[in-house]
Symmetry: C2
Subunit: 604 residues, 2 copies
């Protein structure tokens, strides 16, 4: 039967044949996650996604959220899904069972999220935020804060958010002006206005816990003076009972291009001078706490985008197999019968583009999860640091590169449907609209590129980036020895070497008087790093496929493995020459972008 959302065979391939996730089970922490258990979890998630979540995708888009007198209603159909999420305990998949978590490997949770996000990520955004807020409580909360809030957040009884952005403090978080004044009882009075708060208000839960970034009176300017507070919608008394409503209100929701099922709220704190919160973590260390959460949040955004791309690919593929239109360019004559459009060269090009990117990005994201798992179970400090470094370097790719490419995949997904793709009759156009937000939130993709160049490239004196290149090289060496992959390995090696050269050049330029020029090329640098990582991932897949074919695969697996070899070949042959070209432009250090006078941009 035709697959939807994500190709289960491919998900399984990454988990078991590429990443060998069950080897994590050798460690006591993940002892119960053998292959059978992992498969069962993925099956259960997939069922929920297919049967309950996917049918609410369009309804969520069309109905959207409504705002009236400070109250927000989510799409009606979402309530049942929310209840099922609570019941199935899908909110805190990887967290400590002590607090209601499932203790699952991150790798497995990403396979689950692939289905959830692909089915309806405007819905899953609600629970991601609740989980993220809970994580902050787990990491930085006092025992009392954990006792009062954590389990209720991880189990979905209460919602959670993140109040960061203000109208004049978006990418520049340090410019925020929300203030906190300490009260005699140890709580803080908070005053300010926040915008773009996902799930800031909704009718899923009776209480919502808001982590809020604010500045304590007298604190330093900029990011060094930001503290984190826990501000519940309804005050929680010391005994856990609910008190009175706190002075935090939603003043409106945004009308947006997409993710209509997720309310984007403006929030006013202390409008009546009565908003109370408790300090979460240390004074003036709020930004540091944010950074701890950032990798997970950014990886989630990459997953959201991949979810859209993956679903768009499945829809396009299914459509291309049944839609009859036109004859083959090499058909005998104009009277030849019509063919399914999957037979047309340009449709095949689009499908293979969608496939290769979807697969490569899937591997890249799950692999980042695997690094997280391996870091967690390692007892070796050096090894732990190595995994952390690898994750840190991969995150801007997992967010910036993956969301860019996913959007392109979604655009092709419309194209394959022709005029129908532009209508709301099919989900393709919604997937594109929803996907667009992933370029923007949790740090715009421009910020990701700056993060890669400005922070990650020089991390541990460049060791983290070098280590990543080393991992690529290992896979290339393996591929060199496999028949049929030699030329792909050679091409990938050329790019890896070119990337190393470009990285050296960028690191040097960024420390020179041409620093601004380096930053003007940061985006291209993110692009070619991403291309190299994709080539690595697809080559890795091709190696696994070739080895399994060599061993003698089952009949129905043969074409799947062949598809793996082809994805790698297509990507390496059609994308790498462009990456090499892009590397050349970086190495030339052309600084036209910085040389432009502001008037030269025109428009006056």
């Amino acid at each position: 039967m035709a697959q939807l959302i994500a190709d289960r065979r491919d998900v399984d391939f990454v988990l078991h044949e590429q990443l060998e996730v069950e080897t994590l089970g050798r460690h006591e922490k993940f002892a119960e996650f053998n292959k059978k258990t992992v498969d069962m979890i993925v099956s259960e998630a997939r069922n929920l996604a297919l049967k309950e979540m996917l049918p609410t995708l369009t309804a969520g888009d069309e109905e959207g959220c409504t705002f009236e007198n400070g109250e927000v209603k989510v799409p009606e159909a979402f309530h049942r899904v929310y209840d099922l999420f609570k019941e199935g305990e899908w909110i805190a998949m990887c967290d400590n069972p002590e607090w209601g978590g499932q203790g699952m490997p991150a790798t497995v949770s990403l396979a689950v999220k692939n289905f959830f996000h692909g089915a309806n990520f405007p819905f899953t955004l609600h629970v991601l935020l609740a989980h993220g807020a809970g994580k902050l409580v787990e990491k930085f909360g006092t025992d009392k804060q954990k006792e009062l809030f954590l389990k209720k957040m991880y189990t979905g009884e209460w919602g959670g958010t993140m109040l960061l952005t203000e109208a004049e403090a978006g990418s520049d978080v340090g410019a925020l002006t929300t203030s906190a004044v300490k009260n005699e009882d140890g709580t803080y009075s908070i005053t300010g206005n926040k915008i773009f708060i996902s799930s800031g208000e909704h009718n899923f839960t009776e209480n919502i816990i808001h982590p809020v970034l604010a500045r304590i009176e007298g604190a330093p300017a900029g990011t060094a003076g930001i503290s984190l507070f826990l501000v519940p919608k309804i005050w929680v008394n010391d005994d856990g009972s609910l008190g009175e409503a706190n002075d935090i209100v939603c003043t409106g929701i945004e009308h947006k291009m997409g993710i209509h099922g997720s309310p984007t709220c403006s929030m006013t704190l202390g409008g009546r001078g009565k908003c109370r919160g408790t300090l979460l973590g240390l004074e003036n260390k709020g930004m540091r706490a944010m950074f701890v959460m950032m990798n997970e949040a950014r990886l989630d955004v990459g997953m959201q985008a991949l979810g859209c791309a993956s679903a768009s690919y499945m829809n396009a593929l299914n459509y291309a197999r049944v839609r009859i239109q036109g004859r083959s360019p090499d058909a005998a004559g104009k009277d030849a019968p019509g063919v399914p459009i999957i037979q047309h060269p340009d449709v095949r090009r689009m499908l293979l583009h969608m496939k290769a990117y979807t697969e490569g990005m899937r591997s890249l994201l799950y692999y980042t999860g695997l690094c997280e798992d391996k870091m967690r179970i390692s007892d070796d400090a050096d090894e732990k640091a190595r995994y952390q470094g690898r994750i840190d370097v991969l995150i801007p790719i997992a967010k910036g590169y993956v969301t860019d490419r996913s959007f392109e995949v979604c655009s092709l997904g419309i194209q394959i449907f022709g005029g129908y793709g532009y209508t709301r009759e099919y989900p393709q156009e919604q997937l594109l609209r929803d996907c667009k937000i992933t370029h923007i939130y949790e740090g715009t993709n421009g910020i990701q590129a700056m993060d890669l160049l400005g922070r990650k490239l020089g991390l541990n004196k460049g060791q983290a980036f070098t280590d990543l290149l080393g991992e690529m090289k290992k896979q290339i060496e393996t591929a060199k020895k496999i028949k049929g992959l030699e030329d792909l390995a050679a091409d990938a090696e050329k790019l890896a070497d070119k990337l190393a050269e470009t990285a050296m050049h960028m690191a040097k330029t960024a420390r020179s008087e041409k620093m601004m020029t380096a930053f003007a090329h940061a985006y291209s640098f993110m692009d070619i790093t991403g291309d190299a990582v994709m080539a690595w991932m697809l080559l890795w897949r091709a190696c696994a496929a070739a080895q399994n074919l060599e061993k003698g695969a089952k009949k129905k697996d043969i074409s799947f493995y062949d598809g793996q070899l082809k994805s790698a070949r297509f990507f390496i042959k059609s994308v790498l020459p462009l990456s090499m070209g892009k590397a050349e432009t970086i190495l030339e250090s052309d600084d036209t972008v910085m040389q432009m006078s502001e008037d030269a941009f025109g428009g006056k």
Copy 2:
């Protein structure tokens, strides 16, 4: 003052300094179109666009069109604009004054359309279609048909459409099944169902004239058996008076991603067996008639996309100049004051990308119009053929390449606004949604790529393509002699040579047993042809700018000309290396796309 929609200085630059449109005035046909007149026309159009059309853009999107009992209502605010269009005689700008046209050069009309489409192309789509239908009557109608319909269509008193697509006949027009049976009085009875009919029904005009593609009983299968008919919504009697309602009804409108102000109608003809039409042109020659209209229609679609890109750039530029956020990466410290985001390297990169593409595409489209004008006034058959060939080759670029790149520009236009760009508070997200349709209608961009490879490359035994390369080379020779442009000329020459090599390769492959492989690379071939044309256009601009600077420009022009030099440099330095890479992939003739078994795409 900040410009909106399109940079007037740049529009004037292309018209007068690059293309020297006033030289057309030397020919009696365009004698009255001197510089002063041209400027006055553009000013009037710009005023109308800014003051009347742009304010209806958002309203048109939010209100959309409504369908009830076969009747369609357009957004209320559009009615006033429609009346102003009729009054200003903006519908048939280039057509014969005998029939209500203005006899304007196409080049000038494209400058006008730049403002109109950029202000609100879902509105202008209505009048474009009325004009296109009129053009069919002018070209193929009998004297009687012209007398009855033409002036009323060109002046906007009646609307017009094009009934082509059917549910099973989209890209494959030849599969259509709408039938026509000749009646004793010489009219035809038409029966069938059409979909995706823009402006198929609306409340602008009392009558709508529908050109309809249908198959006469007994006609050959495929495109060779298609005829064109004129089917009025209200029958027009021989004396020009209106008769009874014809049996053609709108049965619904599509809910779409964008262009909400343009109703996309499903139409049923002859549901009661009483739909009458008259033959337009010759029996079985309907497709040929369509092809005559196609160049104009496709150029218009390119203009729509450029309109979106151009408006998005102006908005982004204006926003980047006033939005304060963050400090410069090379700022002294974290306490440095915030700066307008136009100072950030990555924002500058995005703006310069938007600028260079918008400018290059503007030149490319206006130039195509200039070729049209020069062809029309030429008395030399060879010269006429040369211009026609050049237009024919440029059209798939003007439609396919330009709409692709415009969409990317619109996506960056959202990005520069950050989170605000995703909200409906600003027009950026609508411009992206509207722009997406331009990839699809009037032949999907995949069809454009096939057209370039399958028809245009070999046109006149390849002479038309060779001639285009020759024009590029001429400009490159000029640029070589201009100080500061030598290296850009050298790079552009490399690409032109590589394009020539690739074209030879493609032409050969398309005629070999590897034909399907050639078609699998058709899209990349369109891309690099487009890149080369853009490099040519931007180099041409740079030459004009450099020459004007040399002559001693006015102070306020100096930064404009400098911006021209920079656009060319940015494009040539950052895009051409990628084009060269893309050419290499074509030359390698990798045929992975065709080697894929259908099962290898997965998803089963």
